[in-house]
Symmetry: none
Subunit: 207 residues, 2 copies
DNA sequence: GCGGTACCTGTACTTCGGTCCAATAGCCGG
DNA sequence: CCGGCTATTGGACCGAAGTACAGGTACCGC
């Protein structure tokens, strides 16, 4: 594994001692687009008091693409945390958290987890619970009847627009295996590609 | 690290090979109150299809107290995941996830993180601006309003499962021009490929 | 006329999707 | 125990899809 670079973005050009203690090789992001040290593995964005969290995070995410962002807040609150997660943050904690905690958070986030305060869980759920769910999609089962359990999962993911790579990550298997499944699905359902599969799954006939 | 005992609770008395592969020292919980192997570090609760998620989790949590619970679902859905988190689960994933993924989830949860499914993650991140476009946040069916006449024809054909070559023949223009149109459509509608375009045209949200 | 838009096409390139070969492993029914 | 099904993966290959860069024509309004 290559050296993991933690990039701290804040208005101040220098790193807090805490951060340096947690990640000796950390670099300061400031507004620099790309650090000369390589591509960072994750971004720590310190929220300036008074600044809008959302725009700040989106700016950072716009600069750094898919790199996970953890927000550091000087005065954490549930409301602020919610805004951050809604804006795409993968974690939220106090700016002055202990080095040990920062490292734990980094572990969690880099593994694909979410770091969220315990008190926040209920409210976060309420915030997402009203997201409209588009489809019943399990009602029409004729297509599903022809497939195995695993193939159904893959078919559903494909039908929702996921790429092979995404499905592989989601199911924890290789992209190669996804291709094997999709191939089997296509043959069983008599379609030629993923788009036609999507149509069948959603109850339409191709062409 | 001390020997971590993973306890798998399901209606079946035996462990899935996957689980044993992930945690060779795993034990089956069934309805046994306390295993003879000591106190487990975490509980994996397999959700039986048709059973109410909430009551199942609460029962498990009642038995095992403060030990973090990760829910395994045979047919994961966002609704189900939300119910589980509302009931106090710390993680949610597919029953048949790969051993490697299970171990990652265990890491995250044992460190205090939260593991939400990939699709739920997307839903959380959704509603945020994507990098190229400011996210039109379309009402259903205004997709046509954003496109030119020609682009509408191409979009409709793509959404019905036609290939670029077929559309080119149908419209009497070259495949290259179809690509130009599809590229413009993708950008205007904020989708990344023809399958997601198909979903938008048919009134669904990708992922 | 000039700027803007829509429409059309070319070359070259990268990435993704799909298929063919083949292989390992576990589970299950006969 | 063996054959069949399922799940998984590898390598190689090819074509489709998508992007980048670079044009061309035509129409329309100021």
């Amino acid at each position: 594994m290559t050296e993991s670079i933690h990039c701290f973005v804040s208005r101040h050009p220098d790193l807090l001692p805490r951060w340096r203690e947690a990640f000796p090789s950390a670099v300061a992001g400031a507004d620099a687009k790309v650090s000369p040290h390589g591509t960072p593995c994750m971004i720590w964005a310190r929220l300036e008091p008074g600044a809008a969290p959302v725009s700040a995070i989106e700016r950072v995410r716009g600069e750094f693409g898919a790199i996970p962002v953890v927000v550091l807040s000087d005065q954490p609150s549930d409301e602020e945390a919610l805004s951050c997660f809604a804006a795409g943050a993968r974690g939220y904690c106090n700016t002055h958290s202990a080095a040990e905690l920062l490292r734990r958070i980094a572990d969690v986030v880099l593994q694909g987890g979410l770091w969220i305060g315990e008190s926040l869980m209920q409210r976060l759920l309420q915030g997402t619970a009203r997201v409209p769910m588009p489809a019943p999609s399990w009602a029409p089962r004729d297509w599903a009847a022809l497939l195995t359990e695993r193939e159904r999962e893959v078919a559903a993911a494909v039908a929702d627009g996921a790429s092979n790579k995404e499905i592989a990550r989601q199911l924890g298997i290789t992209e190669r295996t996804i291709k094997a499944h999709t191939g089997a699905i296509f043959e069983k359902l008599g379609v030629r590609d993923r788009l036609q599969l999507s149509l069948v799954v959603h109850g339409r006939q191709p062409n």
